[in-house]
Structures are given as C-alpha cells and as structure tokens.
C-alpha cells in the first residue's frame, strides 16, 4: 500500500518561492505524471517527495505517516534519475546490489531479486559490464533495475526518456508502461512531454509556475481542460484560443465575422475565449459560407494528416485538420467553420473554463 497525501506543500529557495501550496491525493498503485513547461516546479516537487530537498511548509504523508523529516533512504521510495546516476566504479550487478545490501537483506534474497529484475529488464548478459560500456538505453534499464530491486512502495522517474534518441523513446515508454502493469506500485513520472504524459498516466498533474493547474485523467484533461493553460498545453497541434464578443447566441471575432450557435454557456460575460482544436474545424474555400474568415499561411503534410495553418482576421493563427486532397495556396482566402459541440469556453478575465 502506498497512498500519498500532499497538503499545502511549499518550497522556497532563499526568498524565491518555487512551489506555492500543492495539494494532491494519490491513490495506491496509480501511475501519476507531473507535466509542465521547464521551470514549473515539477522536478522540485519530485525531489521533495524523494526527500532530497526539504519541504518549506505543508505536510507530505505516505499511508498516513508524516514523511517531512524522514531520510530519503527510509521513505520506501526509489528514484530513477534523468542522467541515470549509475555508480561508474561498479558493474551492473553491483549497482543493483548496493542498495539492497544496505537494506540488510539476506544474500539469497538479494540474488533472487537481482535475478528477477535482470530477467524482466533483459540485463542478464550485461551484469559484469561497467556503466561506461553500456548504451544509453541499457543504462536506463540498469537505473530502473536498481530502483526495482529495492521493491519500493513508490517509484519516482525524473524525465527518464530525455537522454534517449527518438527511436528508442517510444520503446522505453512501452517498457515502462509494461513494468508498471507487472509490478503495480505507485509511480510518479516527471516529464515536459505531453505525449509521454497522455500515453502513460492514470492521472496527470499539469503544473505551471509552481501551481497545479489541473489534476485528472488524460481524457478529462483533453476533453474538459480547466483553464486556457491546460487547454493549450495538452494536445498537438495545440488548441487555438480566440477572443470573441458575445451578443445573444452570436460570437463575433474581430475582423473575421461571426458565428451563431444554438446554445452557449450560462452567465452574462460578454467577453469570452473559445478554444478550438484542429479536429473541431473545417475549412471552406467558398467565400459565402458562414464562419470566420481568414487566409492560408501554409500547409503541413504529414502523410496521415494534413494541417492547414490559417491566420484569422484578428491575427490569431489556427491549425485545421484538413482533407488530404485539399490544395491551398498561401494567402488564399478561406472560411473556417466550427463544430459547435467541440468548442471549449473560457472566461476572458479568469481564463477558467465556463460550464457549457
């Protein structure tokens, strides 16, 4: 069992506040991903959970035991570092054995655990190698193996894929997903890559500027982003945000015309932000069609998808997923139509989601 509770966690370095009160409730066996742009505090939060840095204020509990003052090695947590941090003077076997020996386990138990982990991670033929004799992917597996042999209650991974080349990344990602299924411990994974976050997580913590913007399943984050930050951070190409004026059921975009919809969120706010993903838009070359007017900037052909980038009248750039057959020259005038059900509404002042 490893349920984790973070309440009001703050971190300051000297006078700079890095985390401004984080509250999270993480269930046992969950795969949690912290995602956010660099500098958002996600790695700092991970180091606080590991115990490598001190918590400035707030309380962190594992299974109702306060952890704030507990040494990192006594928290039942293992961590995989971004640079892997293998001990360069020890071979693969020793790297894995080091920690479990310090836990005071019996020799037979140690051997059995290393054997198990090295089979699972295909490290058998590498046990006598030094870290410098391994490739990046192999080092990564050793780092994971070293964490797993300790049978931790919680496994932390700090940007584990960032030092691997693109081809290896998706392999290792699948591997990590498989390992979590097989071992089933609580896992926290830090990344700045939303694709990693979406594919691996049970629930995602989206962070920005030392605060949690939203905590939810990948589907929730994609379908019901809590604010404009989450809306644009999750999904690729990113969601376009349009500043519109409401009058009745009509939404007007400066310099681009307007759109009349059957239903709008309640509330009297005149100024709204609407978010539209590439899928929610269709492109029409017919100038008389209803919708927002704009002109083509360029077309991105990706084989399975074609994205057309269109500059609307107010200067906003939107991407539209289009038909492969479409052939648009730059500067061609087009009309963008929006699927009403796929519009996300946000308040212009608070940038928060408005209930539809």
């Amino acid at each position: 069992m490893a349920r984790m509770t973070l309440s009001g966690i703050k971190k300051s370095f000297n006078t700079t506040d890095v985390l401004h009160g984080i509250d999270l409730e993480i269930a046992d066996k969950e795969f949690i991903v912290f995602v956010g742009p660099s500098g958002c505090g996600k790695s700092t939060l991970l180091r606080l959970i590991a115990g490598l840095d001190n918590i400035s204020a707030g309380e962190f509990r594992i299974d109702d035991h306060r952890m704030n003052e507990v040494a990192p090695s006594r928290r039942g947590i293992a961590m995989v570092f971004q640079s892997y941090a293998l001990y360069p003077h020890m071979d693969v076997y020793e790297n894995m054995a080091f920690g479990v020996r310090l836990m005071g386990l019996e020799k037979a138990e140690i051997e059995q655990r290393i054997d198990e982990a090295s089979k699972m991670l295909r490290l058998d033929p590498l046990l006598k190698r030094k870290p410098r004799e391994l490739s990046g992917g192999q080092r990564q597996r050793v780092a994971i193996g070293r964490a797993l042999v300790r049978k931790p209650k919680v496994l932390l991974l700090d940007e584990p894929l960032s030092n691997l080349d693109a081809a290896l990344r998706s392999d290792v990602r699948l591997e990590i997903a498989r390992l979590h299924r097989e071992i089933g411990g609580t896992t926290i994974y830090v990344t700045h890559d939303q694709v990693e976050a979406m594919t691996l997580a049970d629930r995602i913590v989206v962070m920005n500027n030392g605060k949690v913007e939203q905590f939810g399943s990948p589907r929730e984050l994609y379908e019901r982003p809590a604010n404009t930050f989450v809306a644009t951070f999750i999904g690729s190409p990113r969601m376009a945000l349009l500043d519109v004026e409401r009058s009745g059921n009509n939404l007007a975009l400066a310099g681009s015309g307007s759109l009349t919809l059957g239903k709008l969120p309640a509330g009297g706010e005149r100024e709204l932000v609407i978010g539209v993903r590439p899928d929610a838009l269709t492109i029409k070359t017919d100038a008389s069609a209803e919708g927002f007017k704009g002109s083509v900037i360029y077309t991105e052909y990706l084989g399975d998808n074609t994205f057309v980038y269109v500059r609307l009248g107010d200067g906003t750039l939107v991407s539209v997923r289009a038909d492969d057959a479409i052939d648009l020259k730059p500067d061609a005038p087009v009309t963008i139509q929006v699927a009403p059900d796929a519009i996300h509404y946000f308040s212009r002042s608070t940038r928060e989601r408005l209930a539809a």
Binding site: S73, F81, A85, P88
Partner: protein, 300 residues
C-alpha cells in the same frame, strides 16, 4: 617551416636548461659515486666501495638506517595527517558545511608561504620559554603538558611532521576537492536514496571516485617525504638534532657530502652514493605506486 622554427625556438632553451641543471648533475652524481674523493679533488675509481661503506660499515650503516626509518615514519605520518585531514577538509568544503567559503581559501593559504617562513614561525611557536604553544598551555592550566618540543628526541620529529602537515594540507585538499567536484550531483542523490550513513557515502562512492586524484597526491607525498630537507634543515639543523632524532636522508646526504656544522667529515664519494641510492629508491617506488594506483582509476 616558420612554424617548425618557432617550435624549435620554444623547445630548445628549456631543454638545454633542464639538461644542464637537472640531467647532467644526476648523471654526474652517478659517476661521482664510483670514485674516491679528497675534498673536492677526484681520486681513483673504487667501484661499489662507497655504496658498501654507507650501507654496511659503521657508523654509516646505523646513520643510514636511522635516517631511512625517520623518512618512512614521516611518509606514513603525513599520509594520515596531511592527506587524511586534507580529504576530510575537502569533503567538508564540498558538502558546503558552515564556513566552507572561508575555509576553501584559509586552508590553501599556508601552501603559498615559503618553507623558510613556516619553519621559522614554528620554531618561534615551539620555543620552550617564549613560544605561543607552551605559553598557551601554561595559561590554560595545562602547564604540565609544556615541553621543549624541538629539544627532545621524543617530540622533535613529530613537531616537524605537524609543521609540515599544517603547511601543506591545502594541497591535497585542493586536489581532492577538484576530484569531488567532478562527481555528478545526481550520483550523490542516488546514494542518498539508498543510505543516510556518511561513512558509506564516503567509503563506497566518494572515495572510489576521487581515487584518480589520490594517485598524484600519494606519489608526490612519497617523493616529498623521501626528499624531505628544507623544513628539518631550518627547524632542526643539518645534524638532525637533538641526537639525530630528526635526521632524515636529505640531511644525512647533505652532511656526508658537504660536511656538518663543524665542517668535518666531508666525504663526497659516500654522499654521492647516498644520493644515488635515494634517487633509485624513489624512482622505483614512485613508479610502482603510480602504476598500481593508475589501475584503479575510474572514468566518470
């Protein structure tokens, strides 16, 4: 072509300098050791007689053993005091214990001082009547500990060793600190995830990873200990007083070759033989140490 000329012009003068003032004297000392000498006048070729004399005939044999034993003691004592404390200081500075910024500089300052000054200062400190050491001891009620530190055989050599350790401790500190700073921070974090024992961190991870810097520190200490001359010469005099209790190979060789304070007993042949023996001993062992320690070096 101009480039070659440049390189030649830059290499030749220092090479000539080294040849004239280093290589030539070493080779001449080898040659001198095989001749009999009357003052500075060369006599007849005597083969290994000079070597036989300093190693196996009295009183030379006893003096040789006495001086050599002291060098060995100095080497091991400095290994613990100078390198051991240097390592601990480096660790404290590296982990940024309180006062680290001050100590990073303070520890290294004495290294810059000339040995003459350090020797003279410690002679003053250790003066039996007016020295700050004995005065402090008396002032704090520890008067029974006050000693004529440099005037008795039981404390003289250790006083020199401590003076030397104080003087040079900054050097191993600096080298070890540089070695520690090469260790990536995440490796240290990884150890912290596995143990809270400082001893395990130091002995199992930090020490093995700074071992490459230890090679140079150990080798230089070895060479320095067996070439030890200036500090004992300044603090104890050329006779290794009192009663040869601070005699080391450097002083002994100097006395034998050039005569003691009374100017008597000069034997250039025996002196050269000693110089050759010291040189060969240091070269062989230093080579061995370097070779053995190199094998343990680790690429980070």
């Amino acid at each position: 072509m101009a480039r070659r000329l440049w390189i030649t012009a830059l290499i030749v003068p220092p090479l000539a300098f080294v040849a004239l003032f280093v290589v030539y004297p070493i080779i001449s000392a080898f040659a001198y050791a095989f001749f009999q000498w009357h003052g500075l006048a060369r006599g007849e070729f005597v083969g290994f007689a000079n070597f036989y004399k300093v190693l196996f005939t009295q009183p030379y044999a006893d003096w040789t053993v006495n001086a050599f034993t002291h060098n060995v003691l100095v080497f091991f004592a400095l290994m613990v005091l100078q390198n051991g404390i240097g390592f601990l200081l480096a660790y404290c500075v590296w982990r940024e214990l309180p006062g680290a910024a001050f100590h990073r500089i303070a520890v290294f300052l004495p290294v810059v001082l000339s040995t003459i000054i350090v020797g003279f200062l410690f002679k003053l400190f250790l003066h039996p009547l007016f020295g700050v050491v004995n005065i402090s001891l008396r002032g704090t009620g520890l008067g029974w500990l006050a000693q004529p530190w440099l005037g008795q055989g039981s404390t003289a050599l250790w006083s020199l060793i401590i003076a030397n350790a104080w003087h040079m401790v900054g050097f191993p500190t600096l080298v070890f600190l540089a070695g520690m700073q090469r260790i990536p921070g995440e490796i240290l974090d990884a150890v912290r995830m596995e143990t809270e024992s400082e001893w395990v961190k130091i002995s199992k991870v930090v020490w093995p990873l700074v071992a490459p810097s230890a090679t140079v520190v150990f080798t230089l200490l070895f060479v320095g200990s067996f070439n030890w001359f200036e500090l004992p010469y300044i603090m104890a005099g050329v006779d290794g007083s009192p009663h040869k209790s601070t005699d080391v190979l450097g002083l002994y060789f100097y006395r034998t070759a050039f005569g003691d304070q009374s100017g008597s007993g000069q034997d250039f042949g025996a002196g050269s033989a000693l110089a050759v023996l010291i040189f060969v001993f240091i070269a062989v062992f230093a080579g061995f140490i370097t070779f053995r320690l190199r094998k343990r070096e680790i690429q980070i």
